[in-house]
Amino acid sequence: MSESELSVIKPESLKTYIWLQCFDGSIQQVEEEVAMFCPMICREIVKNGTGSSKNHAIALPERVNPSSLSLILDYCRFHQVPGRSNKERKSFDEKFVRIDTEKLCELTSAADSLQLKPLVDLTSRALARIIEGKTPEEIRDIFHLPDDLTEEEKLEPLKNINDDPRIRLLNRLYAKKRKELQERQKLKDIQVQQEQKDERSLDELLCFINGDGGSGGGKAGKNKKRNKRRKDPKNLPKADPEHLNKEEGACAVPCNAGAVNNISRAPCPSSDVQDDNEYPFEDGDLDDGLDPAMQEELDREVEDFARRLNSVWPERMHLGQERRIESQLIGGNGSLQRFSGFNHR
């Protein structure tokens, strides 16, 4: 085929390429849209105009070695395509980090120097998952860390804590204060103001002991590091699985008891609930004019209802952080799932 025909058939020839140079001198070219996905490279192209030719290749930071670079470009190539679903992206990400730990660390470092935040998050998460649940020996093995601490040094932090004079003093002060309050309570009813007053003087006491001039906690004049705001769903606490089981157990009891007559048509709600409430209220008001037994039925039924309704709301519970948890949700549009029934497990 002639040249002109080729150029019409192959649209790739119309693409622009960006030239990148690693610290070790090797140069490679990559499609523009892929390279632009990296903020650092994007800035270089836009601000400094580099990268358009082999002679003016963009100099990448030292921490980006060729193998990490090719991985990063693979990542960018996949994710810069706009049409992919969340599910696809998540599954790509999961496979992407299944590399050996050494490469993973290098990748993390490289992604950080290129300021590719989503990849840094992904790799950090993967590294955390590797570290999680392992003993120090295992971790040292996996990451080839030198075991260069003495046994003494390993125990130090714990020792410090128990000996810390501040802690011991605080303990004693609190124990004393508590005893005083208890005694006073035995004598007469305590007003809320009194309690507040007690606390404030304790605050001041502690400040004085710790050498602060001012009264009450509050802002320390530290140099705060301007850390980027975490977009991690820490608010979906990891502790939940335990509490969830407790709730399922607690849930089963009232339901069975209530299923005596036709009155209770509500089936036991399965716990899609993320809150671990075990209502500690006492049923004090049993003389509201309704028969106590019925009152209990009513109580239980309304709770059931409310819980059933509430259980479709867990995603919504953190609306403000929807963007935070977007990456964690397995596909699906959180808002659509809200009322389309329950996810019975």
Binding site: T101, C105, S109, D112, R125, A128, I131, P136, I139, R140, D141, I142, F143, H144, L145, D148, L149, P157, L158, N160, I161, D164, R166, A175, R178, E199, R200, L202, D203, G217, G218, K219, A220, K224, K225, N227, R229, R230, N235, P237, A239, N262, I263, R265, A266, D276, N277, E278, Y279, G289, M294, L298, E301, V302, F305, L309, R316, M317, G320, F339
Partner: protein
Amino acid sequence: MSTCKKARAEATSVVSTDRLSSLPPEIKGDILSRLNAEEAVRTSTLSSTWRDAWTDMPVISLCDGNLTRTKFVTLVDMVLLLHKGTIEEFDISGSKNYHDEFGRWMIMLSRKSPKSVIIKLNSGPRYKIPSCLFSIGDLEYLHLENCIISLPRAFQGFKSLTDLTLKIFSSTDKDIQNLILFCPALTDLILDSFEGINRLNIKAPKLDYLYVEGDFEDIKLDAPNLEVAFLSLDNKGKAYQSVPIAHDKESYVKQSLGSLSVIETLTISGFFLKYLSKGCIHTKLPAVFTHLKSVCLMICLWDQRQVLTACSLFQNAPNLKKLDIWSFPWSILGQDEDQVGIQGLNLQLKMDHLVMASVNHFGGLDYEVDFVAKLLSWAPGLEELKIDWKGEKDCSMSLAKLLALPRASTRAKVIVTF
């Protein structure tokens, strides 16, 4: 375990370098933040470069899982004392009693000015939140469970607080009102299960999302930016029992929903609709809910007042697309009340945009069928009406009635699930 062996094999054959420790401290901190505080602190025994790595981690996540009480106390003390950097998020949850330590932990925590605090110590009597926590000026996210909220006299407010969640707590009307009032940036508010609050007064100009579930007598809501609201009244409140006062000029609907001009999703649960149906029921509300697309109602369909209130809501929501009804099942309460329901009310509504509707907990009773009949006649654009059957085993009579109902929409499908 096999990774260990592989790693050992690699170590003998290849000169392996410790790449993990050469990561910049922010990344190390990031990685450790994703672990439980216990594990993060344990990394201080890994190697010399890792001694202090954890003291910089921006997120501290403490959970007393399988730790004994004393061990957990030691851990929390250690973390709060030795942590050097700034704390972005502090998260503590536990199922044992830490009342003796709580005060000093709060003082130590407030000194570090975290941006986000989550406290879920769910066991034992409620923890009184000390005044030092209320002086963390930069707080952005606050989640407290099982606590007593008592504002200090000199409370300046949380100027940057956007998310506030309080669950299982006691407080007073004034304290909660002021807490919300002095957080001008509040966008998400959750108040779940409370004691000691009779009149809820929520004034929050930037509020986006509201969830209230509890036992209150009265609620006043002023949130012009609210988009999603979930309002539920527990039956322990007096509200559900009181008989409507004759000539009660108060409009509870106006007071609670009147300011919500941009609301998109509204859920009314528990006995809240009963509370709304006391007093004046206007057919025309001051604000027309033009953005209201989805409504979920828990309603006693045999109670005419509640039905009227619901209908006045529909009338003021011309663009309603989705309606979910939860039908209160009992006749116990209905002994003194009209069991007539919508029958006898001459209501003509136009629900032109209604596309999806569902009636849950449907028992096949007459007043329920009547309501469904009206619904079908009001919605010319209805595509799907789901009925979730929870009644007697023999549903043939009710199904027959349902089938016979005329429909305004030619496309309407009536789907019954069991």
